[in-house]
């Protein structure tokens, strides 16, 4: 046996152990390391054989993996890791017999307990400050101090858990609990590393940002699904697929709940008379609650008598017209106050030529999330046009012939 293998054997055993069992070692670990109380796992012994109900954290055979994926759950980690986890071991994680590891753990535990003390003292400070009577004129300074202290407290909460290897593993396995600040922090960081950059690039390069709204600084991770298919920002969607309203997965990275307004607007409706483009509102809903834990929003399932102002209108692109950018904006309502649905419904009846800038100003909204998909003429568009009764279905758009500059004309009369 090679040296490295011999050395890593206890580690592998430990991993196996902590995964395959009801986790006695991990629970010990949780007590020692995590700030929040652990919920004991319900001991449900699977009576079925493994191939009937494969475990996503242990499955290794490609066939079972495929079956799991078809059911909608992705296997966790790499196949090699899953294989390593299958055979049971004996040693809990924190008892690994490496001196360096144990020393490092001591340092981390010391740091963590220091952070916990700081959190406690900060909480006391905040409560003391809140209990103090307000002096005349000191309102603003007290408010700003309180905000700064709250921010520091949140930061400390993250710092207390950021070095915990089990937290890291849980997050990477996608099992992180979004109600805890550390997992929200990690998810936010991961989102900003790639997905947010893509989103911002798409909405700025495709000019959604100056065309539909002046500014948008996304702070929500938004995923958009038509049926089962996830649409990445800027993808083309077939007209048939987009006849029903999409499903959204809106991940918030802050604590608490927010009331948002969701609008889907198309700034590319061709207008031949004015030789320009019009806007069309495809969907408008207000008072949609979102939070870090409740992320799913199905636009077709929202309540029609308290949320949906304008129901979904299927987007179609006339043949020959440039692609339509259907931009979805999630906008925060001011002070998280619900809008008066009846008043909004009475006011917003028109779909054509509604500017999102106007709505933003009218209802004091602030864009915090965005998404984008495109539609163009495709083989299914004609059917959809017939279904929705599109009036210009039998017409297509052609490029207008440009009158050339006088001296460039092929055969002007002056030449003869």
């Amino acid at each position: 046996m090679a040296h490295c293998e011999r050395a890593s054997k206890p580690l592998l055993q430990c991993l196996r152990k902590s995964y395959a069992r009801g986790l006695p070692g991990m629970q010990l670990q949780v007590r020692g390391f995590q700030s929040t109380a652990s919920v004991p796992d319900a001991q449900s012994e699977p009576s079925q054989p493994f191939h009937k109900s494969p475990d996503p954290s242990l499955v290794t055979s490609p066939r079972l993996e495929r079956r799991l994926m078809r059911q909608g759950t992705t296997p966790i980690g790499s196949r090699r890791r899953r294989a390593a986890l299958q055979s049971p071991g004996s040693l809990p994680f924190e008892q690994l017999p490496y001196q360096c590891f144990q020393e490092a753990r001591k340092v981390l535990l010391g740091d963590r307990s220091a952070k916990l003390e700081e959190i406690e003292s900060m909480r006391q400070k905040i409560s003391r400050l809140e209990a103090q009577p307000i002096e005349a004129g000191g309102e603003n300074s007290r408010k700003s101090r309180l905000t700064a202290m709250q921010l520091h407290l949140e930061e400390l909460k993250v710092l207390a858990d950021i070095n915990d290897p089990l937290v890291k593993r849980k997050f990477e396995d996608g099992l992180g609990d979004m109600s805890k600040p550390i997992y929200r922090f990690l998810a936010d960081r991961k989102w900003r590393e790639y997905r947010r950059k893509i989103l911002v690039q798409r909405i700025t390069q495709m000019k959604v940002i100056p065309d539909v709204l002046a500014h948008c600084e996304p702070i929500l991770d938004t995923k958009l699904y038509f049926g089962k298919r996830q649409v990445s920002p800027g993808d083309y969607v077939l007209a048939k697929d987009s006849t029903t309203a999409p499903k959204l997965d809106i991940q918030m990275f802050e604590r608490g709940e927010k009331l948002v307004t969701i609008a889907v607007i198309d700034p590319d409706v061709p207008n031949v008379e004015t030789d320009g483009f019009d806007f069309k509102m495809h969907y408008f809903a207000v008072n949609v609650p979102i939070s870090a834990v409740a992320t799913k929003v199905d636009l077709s399932q929202l309540s029609t008598d308290s949320q949906v102002v304008l129901p979904w209108a299927a987007p179609v692109a006339q043949k020959g017209s440039p692609y339509h950018r259907l931009s979805l904006f999630i906008m925060e309502q001011k002070d998280n106050q619900p809008l008066d649905f009846a008043a909004v419904k009475a006011k917003e009846t028109e779909r054509e030529n509604v500017l999102l800038r106007t709505l933003q100003a009218r209802y004091h909204l602030k864009a915090i999330g965005a998404h984008l998909f495109r539609s163009q003429w495709d083989e299914t568009t004609q059917e959809v046009m017939k279904e929705i009764g599109y009036k210009d279905a039998e017409f297509e758009l052609r490029r207008k012939k440009v009158e050339p500059l006088p001296y460039k004309r092929r055969n002007p009369s002056s030449f003869r």
Binding site: P210, N271, S321, L397, K400, V402
Partner: protein, 274 residues
């Protein structure tokens, strides 16, 4: 040779010293500073002492007369290629149509702004009909100079960053044509007007060889391409799981490589023997 360029600073130096020299003119022989420093290299005829400094410098200024210059320089044409006709083809405010070239350049001295695009040799051309504007856009880029096209004669560029973009549809609505299912093909016909190139429907194209562009009687390319299909010859579709075929292919490739390698070795050996 003493370049006139070198003379200029020396002259300035002399001017600085001039008053003191003038004052001491009577005391010693007033020889020019330049002539004194350079007398080692240049044999200057010793002039009689003159009060004016400029007259002492006169022998250094060179004159090239017209008859001399008109003879030209040797190999000038090899060093001085023809001009490439670069530069602005349309000035600011001129009306342009799509495709109209506005600026020709080497490298991107100017960048395409609103309603303009850049060709593969960095030529700026219009994509919309309108009026040319040359402008800077510090919000977009601090250094770059842009060329844009605006729709109105009095329009200005740059537009603010958060303003919605101004666009034109430039399209007309026409009844939609049902696409013809039949494939068409290029044919040529010769009459009194010359060679006419047109398209025929697939039915005709399939009937046999026809006169095609280039004075050739032959079948259409797509008919030739379907020859195998007509003859009932089909290529086996690729099967990922067919490891036997994969192994045979790999083997063949390895053999070929070995063969080439052996040939290479022989060649080298032959050379060495020589």
């Amino acid at each position: 040779m003493l370049q006139p360029r070198i003379l200029a600073p020396l002259r300035a130096l002399e001017r600085a010293f001039a008053p003191s020299i003038r004052s001491s003119q009577s005391l010693y022989q007033p020889q020019s500073l330049i002539s004194r420093t350079l007398s080692a290299n240049l044999a200057i005829p010793k002039t009689t002492p003159t009060p004016s400094l400029s007259r002492t410098l006169l022998p250094f200024s060179q004159v090239r007369y017209a008859s001399h210059a008109s003879q030209g320089t040797a190999n000038r044409h090899s060093r001085d290629p023809a001009g490439k006709r670069l530069g602005a083809k349309r000035s600011g405010g001129e009306y342009v149509v799509p495709g109209c070239i506005i600026f020709k350049q080497r490298g991107s001295k100017w960048f395409p702004g609103e309603n303009c695009a850049m060709g593969r040799d960095h030529t700026i051309y219009a994509t919309q009909a309108g009026y040319v504007r040359y402008y800077l856009d510090p919000e977009r880029h601090t250094e770059r100079r842009y060329i844009g096209v605006v729709f109105e004669k009095e329009g200005t560029l740059p537009v603010p960053r958060n303003a919605p973009s101004r666009r034109k549809l430039n399209m007309v609505s026409v009844p939609r044509l049902v696409p013809v299912a039949q494939q068409s093909d290029m044919v040529a016909s010769i009459d009194e007007n010359g060679v006419q190139v047109g398209s025929v429907a697939a039915v005709d194209a399939e009937s046999g060889p026809q006169l095609r562009p280039g004075y050739m009687y032959r079948e259409a390319n797509w008919v030739i391409g379907r020859a195998a299909e007509k003859a009932g010859v089909f290529a086996e579709s690729y099967d990922r799981g067919n490891r036997w075929l994969a192994w045979r292919k790999r083997q063949a490739r390895a053999e070929r490589a070995a063969q080439m390698k052996s040939l290479k070795g022989k060649k080298k050996a032959g050379k060495k023997a020589k």
